[in-house]
Symmetry: C2
């Protein structure tokens, strides 16, 4: 299963990755188990073989509740269309948690998915109140699926207020899938003050943004828009926006712009037809993608793909609907659309287009399961819905037919790793430590705190300012600013003289005599520029 | 202007505040300049006088661009309706920045607003690229307007996809206005990793949630819903949700529930009629309130109120539209609706209802400015729009008429302070320090870092785990987890033995020999419970 590269080839592969992701990956040792290649002479050969190969194996997890019946319906459609995929069914979901596996999958399932690099999954339930983490989130984070991609298109036959108003929707949301507050790094600083560390990284942003641009190019998008709140989160969302603008330069043929997230949401409910591809950070992306799902009729019509370097996951994100499970009446559309995204991801574009056209034709003609559609037309069950799609292979809808493009399989997740890839996008510039923010617990008034802090400043530091909930309360401020019992005290070096960690430790030791210090952040200066937000008036 | 209380009375007033805000306020010295009271014997007398008084003075800032003309239109309507308010016009806005005032207002303006406690403002522009902070955000934060309240109602005559679909909207969004990432506390930890500190506090949450419940009761709301992302941000949004559930117990007559923010947004674009009052943290509230503005036709129809203990601000949040400024064609509806919210805030409920009914009647009958409405009916200009409303005083719309409730002025911002109020909601339980999270810069592999860290653990600490972007990479993890050059290393005390700050300093000093430590967070245990998020598998 292992491919051994010469040192030179390793370097070459590493460089390819660097150019793709603007990231450094030490010594990758590629392998692509999905196509069962045991030895190839180098990476290019591997890619060539992948391109020729037209029979791949993927992992399939049917899921809980309605999962098995909608997955069966989708695989029946795939099979009828002679989709050249083999399936390795793996054990994941609530019943696996119930058997005592804390991450909701058996070790064999994990191994199979890591070997095959592709997982197609039905909806799954994570047991509540048992302290176990969501199986969906664990899978996305552990396997580093850095981009969540979701396509939202008007489906004729699925009525929404927008379809009734004649406003067409064709939006693709690409959401960063690892960072932001989803890191789950949270602390109580005092009994009253909770903190969540929201981080955005340059390589992480680069990776998802590059993916979004490549995807937009493939989609022949009319516009790609970076969505952010950089007017408030100037450093974190500012970094994301900067990465977007950097990558945009490499795609002069694409119209690239940006919009503030709240403004976007207002426009999405009035003029959704103005947007095409959106790329966002994690939480904002989460909110916007569900909003867009609502625009086209809900989660039952919204596919989802989690794209990684190594492993990608295609899934329906709606619930498991235990109330109707086993009745053969569930709507398989979202899972089918996710499956079609997967076919396109592995280059099976012809199969995807034929099946999608049949689906669109079926919906357009009023065939529907019980959960949507024209109530004057009797609904069909899950199997009948799948059979109708199969009987419509070769037909095209009046509106929105997909172009048939010949299959060209072989672009998925090509690497198997032996160590964790380290992504470093930017080499160090001249850097100095110029101060520290100390976060202290206190219920005293700002002036009293300032008096004490000044005594600790010593010969190296100046007390610059004190703020409370981000609002400056010393040296200037307003008595109308309410306080909580946690202050940020900022010390900077005198005349921006470089400091070392020992200086900071000295201050910390001194200050700890007077205060409980909940946390600190070093203040860095890089290439003469302050790498931290300034307080009001600073 | 100063009211002096006896020590006992001071305590009593403080207790009232404690019961209202669940917060401790040291020695408040009340005054309410808006009603020009120079001395009253105690707080209750003050309130009584305020209730009787029916002629108040408020600060008015006309704003930039179309601000002056729409403000004139609104004040003309107020005047025609004999609204018992006096206006003190203050200097705020772009032209004040241009004069060299860095916060966009003159010192006299600031003083007047702090004296009067109420500001009614038109749209304002903050000059770009001059490094000055947004005048709107500065005002909200400095004066601690903790709640942003916005009412979104279907206006007949303003066509939207939802009005065409016959879906009525009557949603009030109450957004926390100070905390969250809006504190603007941001640092670059490495060249690749940016951090924003997202904080949520118990007293801050209590304040806005109590306000939302009181308002919902007044509105006779059918439902009040806490919107959050506590499934991901378990400690911060968990705290907000906990406060909501605590306050909900005091209002058994109100149906109180909660919803995940992404789910809400999907439902808002399909079934907005299901919701009534929403209460949210700052960023989520920002996004949801603009989404709701879109539902009813955009910012031109969405009022905004910033409610504080001491000072409240009522404003139009749309732009200054410099392209049409001075042409007398702008739409004053949003500013008028904000003004009506202000009238209700000070108890002028009758004036507000009469004017609102006239506005609704006017819209219903097709009168419109050039930016909206039935294009087959010629549009009117700003003055004509105001005059039509005035001519319709006493008339009621067919749909959505407001009940006329007699004026009862005198409940606004009653206190003038001499020191900053300190809000402490929860007295200390038994607390111990049980460890520390150190955030270090490194591009080494997790195992190599662990080996070094173990050597620094000494006799007091255990190395518990190492994570990267919130995903555990040591002692267990996956090679498919991509890394950035910033790790979180968690040390805990052996067998949860209590530590002191000296122990933490000792570890910090030792670790700093091997690593650059960007920041740390103390790990606290309160009443036997860990006050920080656990890593996966911990």
């Amino acid at each position: 299963m292992q491919i051994n590269f010469s040192k030179n080839k390793q370097k070459e592969v590493s460089n390819i990755f660097f150019s793709i992701f603007n990231a450094r990956i030490p010594c990758p040792c590629p392998n692509f188990a999905a196509v069962r290649i045991h030895e190839v002479s180098d990476f290019y050969e591997l890619i060539k073989v992948l391109k020729k190969n037209n029979h791949m194996k993927i992992a399939v997890a049917k899921g809980d509740g309605i999962g098995p019946e909608i997955m069966d319906a989708v695989l029946k459609i795939f099979s009828a269309n002679h989709v050249p995929l083999e399936y390795d069914f793996v054990d994941m979901g609530k019943w696996v948690f119930d058997k005592g596996f804390n991450n909701g999958m058996t070790p064999e399932a994990k191994q199979t998915i890591e070997n095959l690099g592709l997982l197609f999954k039905g909806p799954m339930e994570t047991p509540k109140g048992k302290g176990v983490k969501s199986i969906n989130v664990t899978a996305r984070k552990t396997w580093n699926t850095f981009a969540n991609k979701r396509d939202f298109r008007t489906l004729h036959g699925v009525d929404t207020v927008f379809s009734k108003a004649g406003i067409p929707i064709d939006i693709t949301v690409v959401r960063e899938n690892i960072e932001d507050t989803y890191g789950g790094i949270e602390h109580m600083l005092t009994h009253d003050v909770a903190l969540s560390r929201r981080f955005i990284t340059r390589p992480g942003s680069m990776q998802v943004i590059r993916y979004a641009f490549e995807m937009a190019k493939q989609k022949k998008a009319k516009r790609i828009t970076c969505v952010h709140k950089a007017n408030i989160m100037k450093i974190t969302d500012g970094l994301f926006l900067e990465c977007f603008q950097e990558v945009a330069k490499e795609y002069p043929e694409l119209k690239a712009d940006d919009i503030i997230v709240d403004d976007l949401c207002m426009k999405l409910v009035t003029r959704p037809d103005l947007f095409d591809v959106l790329v966002l950070t994690n939480l904002q992306g989460d909110i916007v993608s569900d909003l867009c799902a609502g625009l086209v009729g809900g989660l039952g019509f919204a596919p989802s793909a989690n794209i990684g370097d190594h492993i990608s996951i295609f899934e329906a994100v709606h619930g498991t609907a235990p109330d109707i499970a086993g009745k053969n009446i569930a709507n398989p559309t979202a899972l089918l659309l996710s499956g079609l995204a997967m076919l396109r991801h592995v280059g099976l574009t012809e199969n995807a287009a034929v099946i999608e056209n049949a689906l669109l034709y079926t919906l357009e003609n009023g065939t529907h399961t019980g959960d949507f559609g024209d109530k004057t037309i009797p609904s069909v069950n899950t199997t009948q819905f799948a059979d109708t799609i199969i009987s419509n292979f070769g037909k095209k809808p009046n509106i929105g037919a997909r172009e048939i493009i010949a299959n060209e399989p072989g672009t998925p997740t090509p690497l198997k790793l032996e160590t964790n890839p380290m992504m470093i996008s930017k080499e160090s510039e001249s850097e100095t430590i110029v101060g520290v923010d100390l976060f202290i617990e206190s219920d005293e008034q700002p002036n009293a705190i300032a008096e004490k802090c000044k005594r600790h400043a010593g010969v190296k530091f100046n007390l610059i300012n004190i703020s409370n909930r981000g609002t400056q309360v010393w040296p200037t401020g307003s008595v109308y600013t309410n306080l909580v019992n946690q202050y940020n005290v900022r010390f900077e070096s005198i005349e921006d003289e470089p400091l070392n960690q020992q200086d900071v430790i000295g201050l910390y030791v001194s200050m700890s005599g007077n205060f409980k210090i909940c946390s600190f952040e070093l203040l860095n200066m890089w290439a003469g520029k302050k790498a931290y937000s300034l307080a009001q008036g600073q």
